[in-house]
Structure formats: C-alpha cells, structure tokens
Symmetry: C2
Amino acid sequence: MRPPTIRDVAERAGVSKSLVSLVLRGSEQVRPEKRDAVLRAARELGYRPNAAARSLSEQRTRTVGVLLNDLRNPWFVDLLDGLNSLLHAHGLQMLLADARLNRRTGQDPADPLLDLRVDGLVVVGTLPDPAALGGVAERIPVVLAGSREPAPPGVDVVAGDDERGARLVAEHLIGLGHRRIAHIAGYGTVGELRRRSFEAAMRRHGLAEQAVVEPSDMTEEGGYRTTVRLLSRPERPTAVFAVNDIAAIGVLSAAEELGLRVPRDLSVVGYDNTSIARLRHVWLTTADNSSHEVGRRAARCLLERFEGAGGAGRVQLATPTLEIRGSTAPAP
Amino acid sequence: MRPPTIRDVAERAGVSKSLVSLVLRGSEQVRPEKRDAVLRAARELGYRPNAAARSLSEQRTRTVGVLLNDLRNPWFVDLLDGLNSLLHAHGLQMLLADARLNRRTGQDPADPLLDLRVDGLVVVGTLPDPAALGGVAERIPVVLAGSREPAPPGVDVVAGDDERGARLVAEHLIGLGHRRIAHIAGYGTVGELRRRSFEAAMRRHGLAEQAVVEPSDMTEEGGYRTTVRLLSRPERPTAVFAVNDIAAIGVLSAAEELGLRVPRDLSVVGYDNTSIARLRHVWLTTADNSSHEVGRRAARCLLERFEGAGGAGRVQLATPTLEIRGSTAPAP
C-alpha cells in the first residue's frame, strides 16, 4: 500500500492540491471550513508531509524548537502551555530539548534542534551562556522567554516584570507589619532585579536598616543553608522572601528544623508560583510570573519574525501578580 | 563565508573524508583517538551535518524522539538522564515532546517527532492509548519506558518491578508494627500491579482483613480527598501507602488538616522517589523505581533494534529499592 499523497488529501477534502498545500503551510488566507476539511482529510488518510524533504525544498519544517534550561525545576510548565496554544493555532508544532542534559554531554545545547532544521528557537529560562545564541540568531528567529539576560542582536526577550513582582512581595510583607525582612537572593539578571527592587521597597518604607540580603544558588539546599544561618542570629527576621519557590521550600525546612512555625513565627514568600507552591502541603505565598502570558507573547514574537519582521530585539514584560496562600501572616 | 564541509573537517583532523563520515554515522569501527580528533575538528569548525539531507539519503537522523506523558509530574527526570547517557555515548541525540500538550491540540502525540523523521521513539510513562503506537512501530523501533501497558508487537518494554516495589513498602509498614494499613490505589497496569502486590503481602501476614483499598486518580487532589474519607472512619488506619508520590503529598495535607502528626500518628509512603519526595520539607518514604537504570536499558533496547535485532517485544524489569525517610515510624 503506497502512502497517501497530497493529491489524495485534495480529493477527499474536495479541494484543489494547491489549497491543501496552502493549508499545510499554515496560510491565513484559507477559510476556516476549508482548512478544517483539509486537516480532517489529512488525518483520516494518515497523510504525513515529508518534513525532511519539505525542509530541503521550502526551507521550512513548521517546527519550533524549545530549549529548556533544566527540566528538574517545573516552573516552565505554564509557559509551554501558553507557547503551544498560539503556535498550534498557526499550524506549528513544538519540540523540546533539555539544555542541562545536552550540556553534560558537551554538546551545544541547541544542536539537536538545529540539526533537524527547526524554523525558530525559543529559549526558556537562563542559559549559562546566552551570547552563544548569536550564531543561531543569524540563521533563524530566536526568542528568550522567562529570562532577562542581555540578548544577542535581533533576539526578542519576553519575561515577567521581576522588579514589580519583588515589590509586590515586599509590600505584602511590610503591610503585614513585618520590619526585619530577609531576602535570599539569586544570581543573574533575574536575581539582581528582584534583589534591587526588594531593597528599594524597604528604603521607601524607611526599613533600609532592617533589610537583610543573603546570596544563594537558587536551590532548595541553598535556601535551607542560608536560612539556618539567618535564623540563628540574635535579631532574627520575622519574614523571608526567597528568590524562587525551590529556595523557599528550603526556608520552610530550616524553619521547621529550628522549631519555628510558619506562618505564626515566620512568614515565607517564594517566586514563580510553581506546581510545588500550589501543593496543599506547601501552600506557599509566591509571586506569579504570568508564565502562560509570557509563553503566548514569545510565540507572537516568533510568528512576527517568521512573517518577515526584522529589526533589533525587543524586550516585553508581562505583569506579575501575588498569590497569597498559607505561608504569610501578620508579624508576631 | 561558506559553511564548513566534511572535507574541511577531514583536513583539520588529518584523516580521510570517509573516516569522518564513519565517525559521524556513529560507527564502532573507529579508534577512539581518531574519533575524538574528528569530533574536535567538527566542533572547532562549527561543522553541522545537514540532518535533513542526510535523512533523505541515509534514512537516518541519528535522533531519538522521546515522548513524555506529562511534563508536570517530574518522575521522569532520572529516566531521561539514564537514557541520554547511553544514547549520547553512541552518537545519538534526543528530542522531547509532551504528549499532554499535543493531545490537547488534537494531534497524535508522536507526530512532531515523526514528522522530523526520528530514528526511534521512546515513550516515557503511560499514554492514554498505547495501542496507537502500533502504526509507528511498523516503521521505526519503539520502546516503552517506565510503563507496563500491553505493548504492540515488536515493542520492547522496560519498567520498574511494581510488584516487588509494592511488596517492599507493605513489608516495611508491617515490620514497623502497623496492622490497619490503607492503600490509595491508581489505575492502569501499574496501579493494578501495585495494588495486587500490596494485598498479597497483607494476606501473607494474616492481615487481609485489615487492608483497606481506595481507588484514586493518582493526583495530589485525589490523594487528599481519599485520605480525608479514610481518616474520618471510626477505625482509622495507622499507615497509608499511596500509589505515587504526588498522591502521597495529598495524604500529608489531609493528615495535617485533620490534626494528625506524620509519622507519629500516621505513617505515609509514596512511590517513584520524585524530586518532591526528596524535598527536606516533605522527606517522604517512597519506593525508588531505579529510573536511571530503566532509562539506560531502554536505550540499550533501542540500540539493539537499530543494529537490526528483530523479534517480538521483550519486557524487562528493573529492581526497585525502598527509600526510608521521615514519613514512616513504628505504629502508635
């Protein structure tokens, strides 16, 4: 049995071959009923466009590569949902690669995606060396999503507004009457923006002297160790704002171990609104990055570049919100 | 500037073009020093084999597609590590797709991978309709990893030994003096194997009457709701074995809400040894699936099929172990 061809699809859908081809290339110039009829016929026949051959002739695979910085921290799930919803609506599919795994094997992290000739690349989260993307960006559109590192020329950046998010957190804690507030800081641009915004909010409320900032590596273990140090001081803070949810989980463990009840004795806030923060057993107050929106906007940038938009890279920020849960309470 | 060719790589490495080609095809017949020299030269020159063109000529992309059942539950991370380590050692790269996202958009979940002509497919976790893989398995090697569903002909299955894992859990709890033990069960083959093995262990210890089994949907919310019901009974269990870690987190929340201390008043065990179970704040006793080993063995199956091994699909089981942490203690 020979595999179905584009001609078979056209016959079954009762349209011309060139219309099938338009639909499969994701053209916007096809009426929705026709588009649905073609896609249904293709599905029913099991028609599979030969992406490799098409890649050579049209230079398109209609596939977007998504490079994740580390699969172990599930903060990116909503972002992928948002990204996928818009790409799919435009007939594009998504493939993922894990930068951490590729790095460990000495590959350039985007290589497996580039080898298969993806049409565009979305980098999710902070890579150790974002400048290395410059070479890729000369060939295909690249968007950084959920990270704020300086991007190579022509690369768009979509991220949450970290300054605003950190301010929301600081003001929530100050509003609850906390004065001695510690921030467990992170690294990179994201870490710096959150820290500076926290410090600025404390200053605005005349609390500069009571702000304590401790660096961390943004891991659970780092959050734990830093908090044990913080809470063993004579003048211990009554609230801790951790740079991300994973570090905040470390704060919760340290508090528990030192016999402090959260939130009665210590308020704790994270950042990212990960699935872990939403676990009932954790129920962490946290800043929500609007990751779904970040994903949708990243898809939008890519689509515009596909349609030929040139020019310098732009930076777009989505507005974060505060998710108030069970880990914050009025100061003791 | 023209892109580097295979000839440039050969010159720089001081070897013949055909040797470069052998190395890039992952041949085992090349001395390690030569292989390293070629790979170094290719890296230094930024040589990128044209995977699409190669796919047409050689019918190989040297890429393995990995279909994950749901990115939100991070149980698969160690499995991917194991898979990647062996594939990479054989010059193969890995691309991922999320079956949940593709399903939501009405695609066949493996489509984006098949469109780009991956050489083989590893399905990680239970798909809603594993029989649909039959069509794929007729064209490329397919392995199911970490799932026990009946596989289509010619598909290998590598998974943890669920019966053994559940027995380890039951015997741990019985050994701690627990008698009234509840199991929050799951669905699919994995759910059934764990439940039956739990019941068998209880029978062997003369505790059949004291075993309580409640079905669940394997989510945190499901674990929570089931436990609230279980613990509100007059004869409440002193230990709960949940079908997976996520459901066990729901058990912890329910216990907390009902004023029971874990492990003093209630012992709780999960399954999978996910990163969530390892969080200090959770510190859950759980069965470890040997996922890294499952991943390595799945890679091995695929490599053997690439080398031409035919025949019916085999089932291989990795031996689980018990991770005893802070959520289990002697019966009150």
